[in-house]
Symmetry: C2
Subunit: 208 residues, 2 copies
């Protein structure tokens, strides 16, 4: 007996199709700049069908962001599941912000956190909370890798691992925004150099 | 004989009035999220009058950004015209990102570069270029202050002053975005600490 997909999984698969088809549009146009009509046209679905899967454009963006964060976590698990030391894993992750064979423009260019944060945090508390949860989780994982790196002697920092992780993540977010403004990847390469220096030593002053 | 303002200056003053009235709206809603009708209503002007001063919404945003950058430069001149040493001037500037008596929420919260960059750089080459020019100019001024600080012995860095200035600016841009996501100022306070450490010493590793 063949097993046909349940209504639930059919619904999920159609929902996922709309999310996947819209990703590039969102990445280019953001939240307010992307009209519902454009989403419908691009995914080739009628309005009624969209509202069957998502109660509103904001709800659609919330699911899209949650899906993005889930996918991001899976990518992290993949690159961090190697036997490499803590420092190598962190640098491997951030090098992919610049370029990645599976993501030709690199993670920075394809990052919904960077694309949407400034726009949507003032417009939607639901979207802000999803972004906040995603960022907390990324920083937590970097913190754990720093701790791993201190243990395996690949990383030397002074001070709190979480603070170093937050600083590194901030540098990359800033670099990604600078890279969008200048349309070149030099800010990202510089962030990589700064990150290497931060992991070789602390940024604490020589007096501390 | 009383001298009435020329047509040119009347035009400029009305244009400035529309820009000033719209600033808070832009800061909250961004580019695509802010409709022309809302600008007209808020500034209490008819559509024809708006188009008399600005050929399009994009042109209006370009003038708004240019005006913002001009005003930003004036603010920099004010805080950097003191006799303080280079390090004090840089820290004074960044402390204002957190809070400033003239700008209750601080410069980070009121920054159009941070609010608009991710949204508009993909939508408008004209706006991107104004942002790029503004950022280059801010980083150039930070570079000069670092050089002043090295000369007056208030700053110790290893390596290129411009690279340090770029890194510091990136950290603050990233921190400002993190601060929007988390709705608290801790990322900015951490950026201040990182900046102080960067100016006390280099972030170069102990092996370099």
């Amino acid at each position: 007996m063949s097993v046909s997909p349940s209504t639930g999984s059919k619904m999920e698969s159609k929902q996922q199709y709309i999310l996947d088809k819209s990703f590039e549009l969102v990445l280019r146009k953001g939240f307010s700049g992307l009209g519902l009509q454009e989403i419908l046209k691009h995914a080739d679905i009628p309005k009624g069908s969209f509202y069957h899967y998502f109660p509103s454009k904001e709800a659609f963006f919330c699911v899209l962001l949650q899906d993005y964060m889930k996918n991001y976590q899976e990518r992290l698990v993949n690159i961090w599941s190697s036997d490499a030391n803590g420092k190598t894993k962190i640098l491997d992750y951030f090098r992919r912000w610049i370029s990645d064979e599976n993501l030709p423009n690199g993670w920075a260019e394809s990052c919904l956190i960077i694309k949407l944060a400034a726009e949507v945090t003032d417009l939607s508390e639901s979207m802000r909370l999803i972004l906040q949860e995603g960022v907390i989780s990324i920083i937590k994982e970097i913190t754990q890798l720093i701790e791993q790196g201190i243990e395996d002697n690949s990383i030397v920092t002074q001070g709190d691992s979480e603070a170093v992780a937050q600083t590194i993540y901030q540098i990359w977010v800033g670099a990604a925004l600078m890279s969008k403004i200048s349309k070149d990847k030099r800010p990202l390469h510089q962030a990589l150099e700064t990150t290497e220096n931060l992991l070789n030593h602390s940024i604490k002053g020589h007096l501390s």
